[in-house]
């Protein structure tokens, strides 16, 4: 379980950004999370509350957008989704798809800053 250390990194990143905008705190952190990031959403939400304690993020919300795996299908020559994380095959034609375009995201996309 490394979600607590990930949550601490999110808090650090958000504090720095808030500081650079001269904001006293943050109300909402928007995060993009891919299935191949190795991070579990529920564990991250739980850790986030703990990580925020006694920081300018205390009481803030973490809004997680879960994004799907996107691959480049070598047969269709198109961006495609996959059957599942246990079967990295093109959802359209079934060809194995080694080239992953998206799905590893663990990214803070935006913040709602406190005034």
């Amino acid at each position: 379980m490394h979600e607590l250390s990930i949550a601490l990194s999110i808090v650090d990143l958000a504090c720095e950004e808030a500081d650079s905008h001269g904001a006293p705190g943050v109300d909402v952190v928007y995060l993009k999370l891919g299935p191949l990031s190795g991070v579990v959403k529920e564990a991250l939400l739980f850790s986030y509350e703990i990580a925020c304690q006694q920081t300018p993020l205390e009481g803030s919300k973490l809004l997680i957008e879960e994004v799907p795996i996107v691959v480049n299908c070598p047969v269709c020559k198109e961006r495609r989704s996959v059957r599942s994380i246990q079967s990295l095959c093109c959802a359209e034609c079934g060809a194995p798809t080694p080239e992953i375009l998206e799905g590893r995201e663990l990214m803070v996309t935006a913040l709602e800053l406190r005034r």
Partner: protein, 229 residues
């Protein structure tokens, strides 16, 4: 009047700091001409036995060293020191994985130009290490035949983060009725095209092929470096 909160766009990777340090390490490995290989697996899959055998086989012909991660003990470093290669233990305390900064700190005092191969043994864990780039050239994921053929399906992310899969303890395959075809199919399902090696550190079966794989990789990366110069 209440002010509306301000929305600002950020778009920053949460593990940016680790990624930056990992990139710096990768560059350092490349400049020094050392091939860095990391090992990930569940606890008890045979990482240390495999690494001990590897270091012993390579030691006479190449300059090899290893960093080994563990939560609490120095047992692995003591075992690996029997190979006579330089070994350093990274004790992570409560941290369940290695991070690039830990590798960087552990390398302090070593001149990488004196090495041909550097092995980095991660903490035994099939979940957390998948999120952290260590700057390695190749990541090997180990799967022992005693663990069951469906491990790749249960932990697709770690298999997906690795470059090569190694089936270990092949000497026990018959005793545990290991279905190799099924294991290989499962690996290919979560990581299409992944190279799979099968070996036993105990009997030595498959070890020569593994050493040859390492030597070929080293030659390829050296000639690629020569082209860049």
């Amino acid at each position: 009047m209440t002010l509306e909160p301000r929305l600002v766009e950020v778009r920053k990777n949460v593990l940016k700091q680790n990624d930056v340090q990992a990139r710096a390490l990768r560059e350092r490995f490349r400049e020094s001409g050392v091939v860095a290989i990391s090992l990930v697996s569940s606890p008890g899959s045979g990482k240390t036995a495999f690494l001990e055998k590897t270091l012993t086989l390579l030691h006479s012909r190449y300059r090899v060293a290893a960093l080994v991660g563990d939560l609490a003990t120095e047992n692995d470093a003591v075992r690996l020191a029997r190979s006579q290669a330089p070994v350093k233990q990274i004790i992570t305390g409560t941290v369940c994985h290695l991070e690039a900064a830990m590798v960087q700190d552990a390398l302090d005092g070593w001149d990488l130009r004196d090495l041909d191969f550097l092995f980095i043994e991660n903490v035994g864990n099939l979940v957390c290490p998948s999120s952290y780039d260590l700057g390695e050239d190749l990541r090997f994921v180990l799967l022992s035949v005693t663990e069951g053929e469906d491990k790749p399906l249960k932990y697709p992310t770690i298999f997906n983060s690795a470059d090569v899969a190694v089936l270990t303890k092949s000497d026990l395959a018959a005793a545990v009725e290991f279905d190799e075809t099924l294991a290989r199919r499962n690996i290919q399902a979560v990581r299409p095209g992944m190279r799979v090696l099968k070996l036993s550190a105990k009997t030595g079966e498959g070890m020569p092929a593994f050493v040859e794989f390492l030597e070929n990789h080293r030659l390829r990366s050296r000639s690629a470096a020569a082209v860049r110069i």
